[in-house]
Symmetry: D2
Subunit: 254 residues, 4 copies
């Protein structure tokens, strides 16, 4: 028989549900917001007011950006599977992948190592920028196809962190990294939202491994809005026709 690990997450009996040592009904429901309990499930302790404000800001930042692939996918699946809407949401959430959102974890790793090694920050950032240039890899957390020259979200996120008393070494290091990148590239590349969120979530003590999950939660909320609009406008059918009409077939032998 398999040797099984234990779980620290939850248990229940007929009369109660216990979540990480707290009574769900009497200690969590009605006493803590969703954002606080999300933090609690990830970090194992309740956040203070500042940490909650920062996590809320990060969650709100990624909820909506219009007709992104996640929204398009959710609409197309919802049109085909109207009676099990979680299928449309799950399909949309599958797009929250390494190419765009994974940059959050990549940036977090760079910041984490930099803060942990605790040496000359400029030298560390110079080396990181150089290594990425040599391997012709984009530096995670920088650049945006639409928001040029500057993504409007990071300055606001930094201001929120400062107001919340959560501005520390990760944000500082990200700014140094940004300066080094600009210097070496000879032009300005914006810190983008995923880069700034990576720094903020590290500031409030969340592990790099939780970042994708937080992005998924955020996006899930946004996709509920698209699901409801899809019911009203039936955009899925129109998107299908638009794409099919716009991508011409060419005989492979031609």
């Amino acid at each position: 028989m398999a040797e099984l690990p234990k779980t620290n997450i939850a248990t229940s009996d007929a009369e109660s549900i216990t979540v990480r040592g707290r009574d769900l009904v009497n200690e969590l429901m009605g006493r803590h917001s969703y954002t606080e309990v999300l933090y609690f499930l990830i970090a194992g302790r309740m956040p203070n007011v500042g940490e909650t404000r920062v996590l809320d800001a990060c969650l709100v930042t990624l909820m909506e950006h219009g007709l992104t692939p996640s929204a398009i996918v959710t609409r197309l699946v919802a049109d085909n599977v109207p009676d099990e809407p979680q299928a449309a949401l799950a399909a949309g959430l599958l797009t929250v992948g390494n190419v765009f959102v994974g940059t959050m974890e990549g940036c977090a790793r760079i910041l984490k190592i930099g803060v942990e090694t605790d040496g000359d920050a400029e030298a560390y950032c110079r080396d990181v920028v150089e290594a990425h240039r040599q391997e012709r890899r984009a530096l995670p957390g920088f650049g945006h196809p639409i928001h040029k020259p500057d993504d409007p979200r990071p300055p606001r996120l930094f201001a929120i962190a400062a107001e919340a008393g959560c501005e520390g070494r990760y944000i500082a290091l990200l700014k140094i990294l940004s300066a080094e990148l600009d210097r070496r590239a000879g032009r300005h590349l914006t810190i983008n939202a995923t880069g700034a969120i990576a720094a903020l979530l590290l500031e409030i003590g969340l592990p790099a491994e939780s970042l994708r999950g937080i992005a998924v939660v955020s996006r899930a909320g946004g996709l509920v809005g698209h699901l409801l609009e899809e019911r009203a406008t039936h955009s899925g059918r129109a998107i299908w026709k638009l794409v099919d009409d716009s991508i011409p077939y060419e005989d492979p032998e031609a």
Copy 2:
């Protein structure tokens, strides 16, 4: 070319992102919690303090219930796909289906019709209970395999709604329905968490069509915790072995 609908959800340009008419950076980020913006995306207006408290309580209620199918699925997929964690979350969320969570929508529909027809509530509930008995269908929002005789969550949810000034006709009707069900069945069947949540979300003005999405958001938060524990304990491998060892093969010809 296809005739395309419009969207009311979001747009962006180089310098700004607009979400349902509000500036994301200056009007939403740092000013509203995730729960408030979720409400805003669903209802088209910001919730008041009481409505936010009720939505938070509903979201927190469904986040965790231990090793449910959603958590088991997320752990198994995470063990096989560690580098794209949204795949494990999406797979787990696919379990948020009609059999268990869909009862929220079923219960909401009954409550909505009852409140809208606005006649004799007892008579309405009696008819609903009778119709379900005759078709041998379970009344959605009632009964629980573990929480017997009473699910501990609904009384707390009703208390939170009352404190928040959000206790109205939907909750009242659910209680009448409960009394009629018990009377007709000749025994007590608990109002369960999905039934109570259905009533509370209707009280705060959310449409029945949004309920599944809200359940998915709630569960997504809980599954982030399971994803992190999976990285630490590798339960997925052990669950696989446990199940494989426990379900014996029998020759189909035997």
Copy 3:
């Protein structure tokens, strides 16, 4: 501890794998085609030559229809998750839902009941058509948005079934149903591919409950082609831009 069912599907030890009583290595691999083993896993016996030909024809029929929602979804997810391609395939397969493909099961149920009751086929079909008209529901297996007045696939499928010696009462009943529908509607509505496939799969002894799975297998093969083309053409990025540019934002207050 839970009472666990047995499985008839497969078992293995260090030296062998047994699938439904057969030795995978010596009795299945190299001796039977994928289609034959698929039939074997569903029906519990190997198909004869005619049954294999019919199942192959049904599988081939649904593999490709160009830029359908399943293909668009797979392309969008593949663009975001290039390193775990099963995520793109799984997302695409989620579109194989009740709205379009579920008509296969709906049609199969009608045919199955009709053949089992074994009475006056014309009368049965007349009643079925009438019941759908009165409930204003489309008759599953009929009509096609593009293939008007006739879907070219059903006649070919019927011819293949006849050649394979698998044309029997289900196909006959489908044709009577078609005649009754046309008579009652006063115009011609084509039998579509899902209707014809439903009849053919019943003719070769497969259960109605297996039809969705067979459609998923078929579509999975087609989507592999889209996955490979996506790697070459990066259509996902272009589809995103196309949709985002084509669906205008309108202020919800406006």
Copy 4:
């Protein structure tokens, strides 16, 4: 407006469907097996008899291995979402990830480079084995937790390839790699099924990028069997209870 690529895959009009230049109805349906059309969609040409036999053998090999994570996940989701069975299949297919099945692509890449560089095969294999040892990475395509000392599937796959006239340089290189690995490790590690399949699929001219897709198609067929057994045995409910009963909760503060 976006610049859109073309597609070589399929197009249709009212009377016909064209797939990669062939008429679906008259040239593919009833004339070619599912396996042949799968090859055609991937490679752009129809396979010969030997290539078809090899692809069929590879597809059959991975269809079934009992209660693997993919089967457990499919059963759990099917229990919660009985009316949209593609959700259960899609969830199960999400497990076809880099950890186990991705070794097919890893092994294929090693074989491809080795055959393309076309130098001293022993020296190439020695270098590959050494590089993996130094980075403490498992060599993809070797070793199996159950099938020790030898996976029974590869010898059969090699025999099928030989009979089909498809045994060439990739299989030869895989065998040299195996000998080098054993020599360097000082003990025998089996070539596993994914390693052998990688070699066979390269022998029949399929690109390494198609391997995951082929594995997904194969597994999809196997999961249809689990879906049907789930309907009969309701194992999902029992698996849930088994796992929940077997993984004890431990207070995180304890």
